[in-house]
Amino acid sequence: MTEIRKKSRLNRATGWDVLIVIILTLIAIMIFLPFYNAVVISLETNRAYALHPVSMYPVEFTLRNYAHLIEKGQIGVGYRNTIFITFAGTVLSMFAMVAMAYAFSRKRFPGKKFFFLLMMFTMFFSGGMIPTYLQFKNLGLINSVWAIILYSGVSAYNIIILKNGFEQTPPELEEAAKIDGANDLVIFLRVELPLQGALLATFTLFTAVGYWNEWFWSTLLINSGSKMTLQVVLKAIVAESAALEDVSTGEAGLDAFAQGIKMAAVMLTMVPIMCLYPFLQKYFVKGVLVGSVKM
């Protein structure tokens, strides 16, 4: 194919090529524009926004929307809780998933099929929201960040992909370790884990992003303000925008305003993901690739 591709590159661009570039560029613009628009509004003063709701740059640059959010403190609390949940959750979930995936990658042991089906069944059938909620209640995890930490990171789907990754280790390496007298645990720690660095990095990042974005159970289970997660805080800020409207009347329209505060909150929630994105991108193709097609 490389040869054909080279040849075709020498050809001049056809109408077909131009059409494809136009379509793909339009899609890219449609994805980028809403983000850019949000950034601009978050940096705008109330007065300027009222006069120019659509602008390609902040007409009157201000950081007041951000300042207002930080002064109010909710965002800080959300940040603290979410960072804790993300760290603790990622460590614990990755430990459970990687250990299980490695176990399932072993050739045969009594009960392997049974345990595997036990795990896989959860992908297709669940008790539903109410029974799960009552289980949290039984465990005393209502209004506890530990509910989110323990529950929302482990996924059967990821375990299957990790398992497929472990299965790709050349068997000779294990044989050699076995001859040296290593047991399954030693092989896991000394042979498999170091070899699967990229795969582990991928899923660590995915899991962390999952925790960062978790909203559903956080909102159901956590009801005290001091334990709220960032996404719940953001949702609250977006929802109470009507109440925020009166903020905007002060100081001759130079103050923070509802839409600006909303977009500033969105930006603050997004920033860590944006910082992580280059790393995510480096790995995600690999993560999607490794065995996800052959279950």
Binding site: M1, N37, M119, V238
Partner: protein
């Protein structure tokens, strides 16, 4: 018999470290998935918090019969089916088309830059995405300002019953299309190059190569993802709908997930009824998955559970 038992015992002992590694994961699935699964008996009970799940009186199929006598529940069931079938039509092919287009684009570097943009929204939560997009689509937002400057009248996108569903598919594609296309891009990268050479020799143009080489080669990937999608037919994408929903569009947007949520967390919840709706949903999902898998297996010889 005894030797077989001995052998089993020895095999178990040999695998002792493997079991050790299984324990954390198994505990998780048992505590957070299998114990709640027992809770589905709630669907057959009139729940009384004082008596607990098991102590509550049994009511047989009454909760399920009530689903079919409750207009709101029936609307939710109808909406769930309609929205998800439309998702199969308007969302599922989008990622495939995007992958094919990207594959036809020249220049690895540009391709990567475009992919960077397409994939980014996948990593954001629906709270973030819906805030950004509703700002964009608001009556004072960018889209409407463009419409007005072109001489049109403002459109209240998010409160229009006719526009709500198309917007669901559009915004979902906006967020997930790039990510979903990666798996197809990977499958395309794995196609044997000699196939294209042969096609070129046979005089196939680029368009023909797409339809006669690329598409058939990634068919098995498409089939697997299609089965999985059908297995989620009753999950209409709770978070997306929940954030975009508003009273004006309730009639076309209330799906089973949002319905369960709203009846469970209102003033006088009926846990038994909520659980029955939930179980009804899970059961249909499971049946649909098995049916889709069976149909595909019959047609092509390979399904999800090979």
């Amino acid at each position: 018999m005894r030797t077989r038992l001995n052998r089993l015992g020895r095999n178990i002992w040999q695998a002792r470290y493997i079991y050790m590694l299984l324990i954390p994961g198994l505990l998780f699935f048992i505590i957070f998935h299998y114990v709640p699964m027992n809770g589905v008996v709630l669907a057959f009970k009139k729940f009384n918090a004082r008596l607990g799940i098991w102590g509550s009186p049994s009511v047989g199929w009454a909760n399920f019969e009530r689903i079919f006598r409750t207009p709101d529940a029936l609307t939710a069931i109808k909406n769930t089916f309609e929205i998800n079938l439309s998702r199969l039509v308007f969302q599922f092919p989008a990622a495939i088309i995007l992958a094919l287009l990207l594959n036809e684009m020249r220049g690895t570097r540009t391709k990567r830059i475009y992919q960077t943009i397409y994939t980014f929204p996948h990593f954001l939560s629906w709270v973030v995405v819906s805030s950004i997009l509703s700002n964009f689509l608001a009556s004072g937002g960018l889209i409407n300002s463009v419409i007005v400057s072109l001489g049109g009248t403002r459109v209240n996108f998010l409160a229009d019953t006719a526009l709500f569903r198309p917007l669901l598919y559009l915004t979902h594609n906006w967020k997930e299309m790039g990510w979903d296309s990666i798996i197809y891009m990977a499958a395309i990268a794995g196609i044997d190059p000699t196939l294209y050479e042969a096609a070129t020799v046979d005089g196939a143009g680029r368009m023909q190569q797409v339809f006669h080489v690329t598409l058939p080669s990634i068919l098995s990937t498409i089939v697997i993802l299609f089965i999985l999608q059908v297995g989620r037919i009753m999950n209409a994408g709770f978070e997306q709908i929940f954030y975009m929903q508003n009273p004006a569009v309730m009639k076309v947007s209330d799906v089973l997930d949002t319905y369960i949520y709203s009846i469970t967390f209102k003033a006088t919840p009926n846990y038994g009824f909520s659980a029955a709706v939930g179980l009804f949903k899970s059961a249909i999902n499971l049946v649909m998955l098995l049916v889709a898998n069976f149909a595909v297996k019959k047609a092509s010889g390979s399904g999800l559970f090979a």
